[in-house]
Symmetry: C2
Subunit: 411 residues, 2 copies
Amino acid sequence: MSDLIQKAATLDAADPLAHFRDKFALRDGLIYLDGNSLGALPKASAAAMMAAVEQQWGEGLISSWNDADWVNAPSRIGDKIAPIIGAGEGEVIAADSTSVNIFKALGAALSLQEGRCVILTEEGNFPTDHYMMQGLERLSGGKISTKAVAGDAILDHLDTDIAVLLLTQVHYKTGAMRDMAAINRAAHEHGVLVIWDLSHSAGAVEVDLTASNADFAIGCGYKFLNGGPGAPAFIYVAKRHQHADAVLAGWFGHARPFAFEEQYDAAPGIERFLCGTPPILGLAALEVGTELMGKADMNAVRAKSLGLADLLITAMQPLCRDHGFALVGEPDRTHYGSHVSFAHPHAYAMAQALKARDVIGDFREPNILRLGLTPLYLRFEDVILAVSRLQAICESGEWDRPEFHARAAVT
Amino acid sequence: MSDLIQKAATLDAADPLAHFRDKFALRDGLIYLDGNSLGALPKASAAAMMAAVEQQWGEGLISSWNDADWVNAPSRIGDKIAPIIGAGEGEVIAADSTSVNIFKALGAALSLQEGRCVILTEEGNFPTDHYMMQGLERLSGGKISTKAVAGDAILDHLDTDIAVLLLTQVHYKTGAMRDMAAINRAAHEHGVLVIWDLSHSAGAVEVDLTASNADFAIGCGYKFLNGGPGAPAFIYVAKRHQHADAVLAGWFGHARPFAFEEQYDAAPGIERFLCGTPPILGLAALEVGTELMGKADMNAVRAKSLGLADLLITAMQPLCRDHGFALVGEPDRTHYGSHVSFAHPHAYAMAQALKARDVIGDFREPNILRLGLTPLYLRFEDVILAVSRLQAICESGEWDRPEFHARAAVT
C-alpha cells in the first residue's frame, strides 16, 4: 500500500484539476464517493441561492421575471450545459425532472416516426427509463409497445418497426459505457431515432452529441453537474428535430406564453420543450454547478477519472483476493464512465460501515458497492484512504455489526 | 376619499390576520397587488433555504435523503396543503409543475373511464390547461378528443361521451368562482370525473374538496401558498381514485423505488403521483409558505379578502366614472376569488405607471388590470393608497409616457 500512497501523492501534485476542490464545501476528513448520486455543494451556491431568495424573489418579486431574467433561465442554463455534452447553442434546455424529460423525448421522437410503434431499450436500464416507456405504452392503449432486450442484442433488434431506442450511455450500476456514435449510426441505418440518457455521463465523461449525430438526449442536474438535490434536469433536441411535438406542451413552451392564446402554438426552438413555469430556485443552484463544471476541460476530467479508477482498482486488489469483493466489468476503464462498482455478498453492510468511517459510497441492488469518482473534488489520496478504511472494516469484521444491516428508506 | 381612509384604518385595526404581515419580507412603501401571480417572501424562507443548502445538501450530502427526510418531503408538504383545501391526509402530494400535474390528472381520470374519450373544458380557461389537453389529444392519435365550450354552457355538454371535465375554480382573469360542489354533482350524474385547477383558489378562498366530493385537483405553489418562483405544484387525488394510472409514472412513484425493479408497480397511495426525483430546494421554500398559510383560518382569510375587494371596488368608483375603468364582473364578490380585475383601454400602461409609483399589479391580455388581494400581507390602507396613486396617474396623464407602453418579455 505504501507504493500506492506515494503514487497517489505524485498524481495529486500533478493534477491540473486540483484547484477545483476548494470550490466545493466538503468537510475535512470526509471522503465522498457518491457525487454520481448527489454532487457536492459548490461554495458559490449558497450565495447564489440567497440572492435568488432575498433579492430576486423578496425584493424584485414578480418583476424578476424580467429584471433578473428568470424567463430565460432554462435556455440560458441549457446553453451552459451544451458545451459539456458537445451540443450546440439552442439545443439544450433545463427543465422538469429527468423522468418527465424522458417522456417528452419519447413523445417527440414518436411524433417524427409515423407508422412505427415500438420503443426499444435494454434490460437493466435505469428503472425510471423503463417506467416512463411503460406509462406511455399504457396511455396509448396498445398503439405503442415497449420492448426490452439484452444489452448485447440491441443492434440485432433494430428494424423498421422500431420508432425509438432509449439507452443510457453510462450504466448506473456497472458503469459500462456505450459507443454513442456507433449506435446512432446503426440505428439511423434502420430509420430508428435514439434518445440518450446522460444521467451518468454529463460532466463525467466526454460526450459529443454533435459529432456522434445524436437525435435526443436527457440528463440529470444533480449528479456530476452539482446542481443540488432534485435539481432540474435537461433535455437536448438536435436542431434538425426541433419541429417535433413535445407532447407535454405547457404554457412556457408556447411561442407567445404571455399572449394567453387558447390554441397551442409551439415555440420555434428548444423552448418548446419547456412545459410549466420554470423552477427558479432549483435553476439558481443548477446554474452555479453548471458554470463550475463548464470551467473544467472535459479531456482533463476524463483523464483524471480514468486515473482515479485505475488507482482504485489496483488498491482494491487485495480486498478482491482476500475479502470477497469482485470488480464489476473490466479493469481497463476506457469503456466505462466515472464510477466503479464492486460486487460483494454484504455490499449493503459494507457501504454502511464505510459511512461510519466517513467514507460515503452507495449500495445498489442486489450486491453492488458503487463508488463514484468525481474529478472536480476527489483527490487520488482520497481513493487510497477509502480503500484502507474498507480494508480495516473487513479485517476487523466491523461490517457485520447489526446496525450496518438495517435498511434505510433510501439506499 | 377621506371617509374611505378612515374606514380602512378601522378595518386594519380590527383585522384578526394583521399579525401575519410581519412574517413577510415586504419593503416599506411597496404595495404588492400581485401575490396571485407570485406570492411574497416569508421571512422564514431564507433561513430554511440556507439550512437546506448548507446543512442538508452541503454537510448531509446524500445521507439527507434519510436523515433530513427529503424522501418524504412531497407527501409531508402535501399533508400540510391538504387542510388548506379541505383534503384528507394522504390525498395531496407536492411535485412537478401545475402543467405536468394536469397531464397526470388527465391521464389518471382517463384510466378510470374506459370507453369515454372526450376531455371537456371551458373556453377562456388558463392556457396551460388547454395546452396540456391538446398535447394529450395529439399523442393519442385521435383516440382522445378535447372540447372547449362557453363557460355558461358547460353543464349542457355533460354526457356519456365525456370522460373528464377540467375546470379552473377561480378564473385567472375575471376572478369568477365556480360552485365546485354543484358542478361535481352534475358531472357525477353523467359519470363524468372532474379535475379542478385550484391555482387561484388554494390559500385564497375556502375550498372543501372532501365536502364537495371532488375527484382530482391540481394547483400552484407560488401564488397564495407563497412557495417561491416556480415552486413545485400539488396534485390531489381522492382516496377512492388512487388506484388510477398516473401515466407519468417515474421511479419515485414506484412502490419500491430503491429496489430498482424493471416493471412498474405503482405505490399504493398518493405517492404514485410522483414522477422523478423530487425538487428538494424548491420544496424547502414551499414548505415554509405552506406552513405559514396553514396557520391562518381560511374563514378569516376569505372574510378579509371580501372586505379588501369591497373597499377596492368602492374606492375605484370615481376612476370607473371619470377615467375609463370598468369593473370585470359584479361588485358583489361572493362568487369571485381573491383578485379584482378592471378593464381599461390602456391597462398595460396603467400597470407600468403604477409600478413606477411602487404599486405592483399586473396586466392580462387584452385590456385587464388585475389586482391581487392577499389577506396575509395586504392592509386595507394599502388598497386606498394604491387607488389614490392610480388616480394621480390618471389625473396627471403620466400613464401615457412612452416608457409605460413598451412591452416586457413577461407581462
